[in-house]
Assembly symmetry: T
Homo-oligomer: 73 residues x 12
């Protein structure tokens, strides 16, 4: 496919999971399918998280860019 | 709500106002409601502006990211 | 128009062409018209490319932000 | 005083106000006096904010570095 | 005018005001007219300030780039 | 609580663990409780690590900013 | 010449051309000769452009730093 | 050893694994031993990944710098 | 191939050409084949150039990262 | 010690000296001992300075991060 | 003087010396007096250098911003 | 030589010296000659250092990129 004129779009989303960074990425990628076209790749922008009253990490928040090919025209 | 799997989306918009930086932010946030879901927070990316023929600031242009939760799946 | 309250939206897209960087930008801008409102300007974020089996550049991939005014409300 | 050996310390704080960016800075600088030495200057790192259920900016959050001279030895 | 060959110059200046960030920008833009050609736009680079002996913000210092078209040749 | 004047402080710490990135974050957050007030959130700044004589990762070092509300005044 | 005490100055300019990125650079470098000393090198800072009503790139705007040796003293 | 004149070299590699970010780092560090001297530490530069046709993360790609001491002369 | 454990190496090179940015990239990619393994992609880091005594661009210098898969172990 | 769970803290300080950059670093590191635990390393963030009425550098100001291990819990 | 409306200008220069980084800064600051108003402070942007045929550093090149107050109006 | 097609390679090294930043650079440049081609220039990326048990700087660590022309092909 390399060499053909085409375009991709990148959208910024944040996935949240209490389990791990990978789980937050997987949450973001899976849930994004409902409103975005078939995703091709992701790029991590930021890793953050919330700390609960018990002083432990209560969730991981991973800011991603996800990319997908824009079809048509 | 912390700890629940969920995703947010961030969208980049530019608000313009001749009054102040805060007014440009408020313009962006208010007008964005027409096309975006309920917004949760904003992050200022850049502050710029136009200078009129009279040599004064004629408008403030504030580049923002606004974030909102993506519901459903 | 300077001085009027208004907002713009910026979207991140990637244009691909085997010819040149400018052709990749033109591809992105032209194809984006199918799904985005009338575009006002673009900003180049990154220039990348693929290298073919013959050791030559097989395509240029240009990451852009394109901006357009959000009407209505 | 220029030319004398001395050191300063920089601390990162976030001031919050519902009024304006300047009010958030003033809140940060004023409240920081309770736990920090006499402040000399500030540097804005980030400007963010929360958006309420009514779709308006409910508060400005300004991330600052504040600096003060470390006395004694 | 779009499409015509032309050049702009960007100059970095710092405006200072005790009132607000916007007043510091306005000071910079207004005073710069004495030594620079007709300005077209500005871009905020940094927002800083001095803190007085009373522990309050005594002035805002806004680092800007201002741009203007270079005429003739 | 949104809308009330308040300040937060951000402190930069490095958590170390031989197990995983998440374990290094958890180490940092848990151990920081001894000297810092109740933490609210963290932001990952850098992920690094040491490689042992056996050529394997011997520990993960995660540079974090942790934030907590400054009370009183 | 290496090893001799000397200074250079860098100035930020924007070249505009409807043809290509290289033409915009050449415009900037050529037109800058009217007001700046003999230029030695350039560094591209940003590549942007305007999109016309026909949805095509109507001009390339290339932000450059150009450098030249300051003589005399 | 601190205080002795010596040099290190840093090389940029990308490790890929379908399991986790840590596994991608471990892959990079382990496989790099074939062509690089004894590694001392790593620094994560970027975390990216591919998304498969099933809409799930099919692999993690971690861009690292790895460092090792250059011996002899 | 996605999903298989593997590593890539990225090397920073500068291609020079008097013709265009694309020609400088092509020069870098082509000449790098003499000392580097089969290249897969490139990323532009910086675009610079020299200005001749005639005040015109005498060459484009493009700083690239080129990447290739490290085979074996 | 590698492999043991532990945390470090990084603090931002500015050392000032009229002699040299190294002297400003040494001032910062030495004076910081009065209020900070045993320091392990430093990272230079910024190098600045003041210029006196005689047009010469009157002092170097070096912004550093210094790191030290947090003991106990 | 704090609190008074005023503006500063920042100019980017490169000082060169074969002796040391400080000597390159001092060269830049001293030679800049011929064409610029009374300088107030400097900020180091980049430190580079040339390596001679003998494989030793033949000169240090320090990129600085120097700032001075713009008087009058 | 300007205008001729050619390529350079940049390599990242860290020079260490207990004396000064310049000595660390000189160490890096001198020792790198054993494994790299004739170097043309260097660019400082980072300045760090170790602090000894006596609370003084025990060594400077300067991260550099060094560049050299790739011959042949």
């Amino acid at each position: 496919m390399y060499g053909a004129d085409r375009i991709y779009k990148k959208v910024e989303i944040i996935g949240v999971s209490k389990i791990s960074i990978e789980a937050a990425i997987e949450t973001a990628v899976t849930k994004a399918r409902a409103s975005l076209d078939k995703l091709s790749w992701f790029e991590v922008q930021d890793i953050r998280g919330h700390i609960g009253d018990d002083g432990k990490v209560s969730e991981y928040q991973v800011v991603l860019k996800v990319a997908f090919q824009l079809k048509g025209e």
